[in-house]
Symmetry: C3
């Protein structure tokens, strides 16, 4: 089963989408299997991270923003904005797809794990996310 | 088929788990398919790396420890210890799940590839790893 | 269905392999499912990135070459050449496998997404890439 979601993160940074993915798993009625989430973009990515304390994802965002800076003199790919090339690099360092097992009809995430869309651009962009459910 | 493993790495760093994963593949008796390994934590991760010369993974650990330092003044998420926030970042830069094809009933790893659990905390923590075997 | 490809990148850097992967998907005749690509090496990796403007992948390569330098005094694993340990690190920071959904018998890549083999060594090395197609 394959389902397509359109998600617009409210701002640059990590935006949890566990509920939307869980709804697709629920709809599939599959008891055991694998859920693979894929994002059809190269300036936003996916990641499984801590969803308990918001300071964890905030620090993660700040840390990566310091490692991958805008206006790096090394960049030549600048026509799409100062945040475009950093977005591609951040996507390369994180993931375009994440896989989570399904056990007892539910995503087998750890107690403090959530699935996040990581929006790397400043603008609000609708992102297409595909959820594949397989046995 | 889904199997759950509990693995405690002896220390911070890469700890090979290829044998435990291969045992699940063997038990499944599947000749061709895909093995996906998932870790239910955000302060330990999974990675496929060289398992021939121990100096390779040691250098990799040292390099990442230099890139992601403890006591970074940027961190606000510090209540769970100085090694907690670096653990989340290291997990983000590596992977929460890895997929390896199954050919002739065995993990189709390269000659020098191994599957590793990368423990990012200093304490010895039992980690839950889920192995999904699909056609 | 599992297919094995041998690919030799013309030089260090990102080398698009979308067409070779799409050919395997086509051959499978599967209309909906998941395509997982795996590389049997630890000094080359896989990545989904922008394939429209070549300057994007060039900047990405340059950025990572600056982050992970050869002849780092930290390295002890140097017997296989100055580009070997950086290759392992770059592989750890990117991916050994990528998954792309199959919709309407085709890879559901975004408009500007391509699948790339990222060769991290300077020498031209034949690389084994496995394509798994599952429902």
């Amino acid at each position: 089963m394959i389902s397509q979601l359109t998600i617009t993160a409210p701002r640059q940074g990590l935006h949890e989408i566990s509920d939307q993915v869980a709804a697709v798993v629920s709809e599939s009625a599959l008891q055991a299997g694998l859920c693979t989430v894929f994002i059809k973009h190269t300036s936003a990515s996916l990641i499984v991270q801590e969803n308990a304390d918001p300071s964890a994802v905030r620090d993660l965002e700040q840390w990566l923003n310091r490692l991958v800076v805008e206006h790096d003199p090394l960049f030549t790919h600048t026509s799409e904005g100062a945040d475009d090339m950093p977005s591609h690099i951040k996507t390369a360092l994180t993931a375009t797809s994440v896989a989570v097992p399904i056990i007892n009809g539910q995503l087998a995430l750890g107690s403090w794990q959530g699935i996040f869309l990581w929006e790397h651009r400043h603008a609000r962009v609708p992102r297409t996310v595909i959820v594949h459910i397989g046995e």
